[in-house]
Subunit: 418 residues, 2 copies
């Protein structure tokens, strides 16, 4: 197979299909989503059989247990896929929304209309449910999609692709609107990220290594999601109970997520009061504490933190703690070490909260709330295709709107420039 | 001079200065703009002397007359620069604006806050007034700027940079917030567009060649402005007078601008009526007509258009004309040949207008208005740094808002994730 030729063909078909998708009415797109759900429901046996092939191959190739777990399609996971499709169908369609339409002195009306991006490439690892999730969000936002899942999930993904194709056909939408790449050749990814004539945006979903590799080589725009080194700063005017709850929840609610706190900053004036109580809570949860010198003086059980700790995303029950003089030092530390993902201040002081949200340059800045809220569902986006740590185009949780662009709409009555 | 080292140094200083700029209050930024205007006013002699050096060098090096004209600083052009600074000072500051702040079921409030992009690189050709224009827009939107003008304007640009530095100092803003690259070495551009750690966006302002070169090599996001192949489609339900006015104005108001019409599409049913009248108007203006076979049958004076004509940006008194069956063929032609800049339908038919603005995928889509309206001032942006033909980040005329991004703001009262 000539991969370059094959990918150009996939790209051309996607570009072609994207025109029909951009013009498709909301009801038609919803019909495709619901018909896909029905096709998945009636294809459970086929999906399971395809997945068994992948699982058997994976086991034979010595795939890690955690990867095998992600790869597995269970009845419950298929239920979730079906539910997800219905959920996306129920979301408001952003496409075509006209905003800020107002009259100009010349008599023309000028506004902005939301439009699909065009063709979106999704590169992901072994979880087959991403195939449905990503395809449904792109479809609802009027885009054509090219999906490239992990090679170990190829049979599962092909089986899911068949269901999506049935859904598209049921709504008379072009089958090429969602294409799952048929080859496991790695060169296909290289092509996908370097054909801006056919692909408008690439969304890599997976580990940091995958995303860094893709960003390095891509000539197509990449919606990146790199580290989540999130901070909670407990101010000396914090409410002690809120500070306790937020600091514990931000770390211990889940360890492996990008919006989990990795570094706790505590104002000097309250450190001796609040740190021992927090250490008890973290101790119960089994969280290892790594502190600056002042922290270690207050908490003898804490390990001395190294410079590296301040820029480490542990994704584990480990927390670094630093005592700071106050707000200025906290902001300075965050702007130096944060990955610009999510940072929180706990304070009852109005002016400090106001300064924190203005001066901390992260995709989510919070006052008195757990970093764990940085999430498309919690923000009311309905769904998310990822959390962008970029500043350009989309920043923070990316929902349907992040998969669209805007164009200017001008309504006139024969006006010409004088 | 080690250009790599020098540019890294410029980049590092810009990144540093961008922090102070992001936190700067609107009044302070306006003060810097007005103080820059005052510095320019009191430096007229110095500016003229520096410009004379560039003009003399240009003449000695055999620079074309048109380039010498662009390079020249006259009293009137200095007046325009001063006026421009006051105008930008009077624009609403987009930074810090919080929108869509609403309560979520968890009790947190979620909204979006507009923030500067960070560091913006501007690459332009010989016009020294771009130095002031670009710097003022970046400054007002809270960004740090690195400016790289044409080497033939180096003395003029350095003199202007001195005035901007005085303005920044008068407002106690860091002098490094606006840096004019001091070397004319071309390698500096190569560095500027490949240091994403220091530069967030690059805006090339100049010819297509410059923009293509930069886009090809850049690893930093580029706000691109390529061709303007704009269309007017005269529908068979067009008001004949509006059609005449719009078709004449879109072509003849100015020939060298990107929002000038290059191809006129006319519905078959009205072609024989409207084309002779239009040909008379174009004839008076001295516009050469190149038509499809049907056009040439109606207008014997028209030259036969070749396939190449449909994708040519003439930037000259030349117009290609094609007779189409109706709306579908018009949209098809536009989506194939348009550069996705600006396209207009002239029609009194509601449904066709509605379809046109939805289905034509260009940065500006218009009903019954001259393509010449596609402009930041006409759209009410107050100023523009360029017109983007990209879909990602900014599309169409780019004003202050296009130089910003958004971050999520979460206001809580101790909420944690359950």
């Amino acid at each position: 197979m000539d991969v370059k030729q094959y990918m150009a063909d996939v790209g051309r078909k996607a570009r072609q299909a994207s025109r029909a998708m951009a013009a498709a009415e909301t009801g038609v797109k919803n019909q495709a989503l619901i018909a896909t759900a029905a096709a998945i429901e009636s294809s459970r046996a086929a999906l399971m059989a395809a997945n068994k092939k992948d699982m058997d191959n994976g086991a034979a190739n010595g795939l890690e247990a955690s990867l095998l777990d992600r790869l597995e399609l269970t009845d419950a996971r298929i239920d979730t896929m079906i539910e997800g499709l219905h959920q996306v169908a129920s979301l408001t369609d952003p496409v075509g929304e006209i905003s800020d339409l107002s009259y100009r002195p010349s008599g023309i009306q000028v506004g902005s209309m939301r439009v699909p991006l065009g063709v979106i490439g999704i590169i992901y690892e072994s979880r087959p449910n991403v195939t449905v999730e990503a395809a449904s969000l792109c479809l609802k936002s009027g885009n054509a999609t090219i999906l490239r899942g992990g090679s170990e999930a190829i049979h599962s993904n092909q089986a899911i692709a068949t269901c999506i194709e049935q859904g598209l056909k049921a709504a008379s939408l072009p089958a090429e609107a969602v294409q799952v790449i048929e080859t496991t050749d790695r060169a296909a990814v290289g092509e996908l990220i370097t054909m801006p004539e056919f692909v408008d945006v690439v969304v890599p979903r997976g580990g940091k290594g995958l995303i860094e590799r893709i960003s390095k080589d891509a000539t197509v725009t990449v919606i990146k999601h790199l580290d989540g080194i999130c901070h909670v700063y407990i101010d000396d005017q914090a409410d002690a109970d809120k500070a306790y709850d937020i600091a514990i929840n931000s770390k211990t609610h889940r360890y492996g997520t990008c919006n989990t706190m990795e570094t706790l900053l505590v104002a000097e004036a309250v450190a001796a009061d609040i740190l021992p109580r927090l250490a008890e809570g973290y101790g119960k949860a089994g969280v290892e504490l790594r502190g600056c010198a002042q922290t270690c003086a207050i908490l003898p059980a804490a390990i001395a933190a190294t410079e590296e700790d301040w820029s480490t995303e542990y994704l584990a029950p480990i927390l670094s703690i630093k005592v700071v003089a106050g707000l200025d030092q906290a902001i300075e530390h965050i702007n130096q070490y944060s990955s610009q993902h999510t940072d929180t201040i706990v304070s009852e002081n109005y002016s400090r909260g106001r300064r924190f949200i203005r001066e901390v340059d992260s995709s989510s800045v919070m006052i008195n709330a757990s970093t764990r809220f940085a999430d498309g569902f919690e923000y009311g986006l309905g769904a998310e295709i990822g959390i962008s740590t970029d500043k350009i185009h989309a920043r923070g949780p990316v929902g349907l709107e992040g998969l669209t662009s805007q164009k200017y709409v001008v309504l006139g009555d024969g006006q010409v420039r004088r």
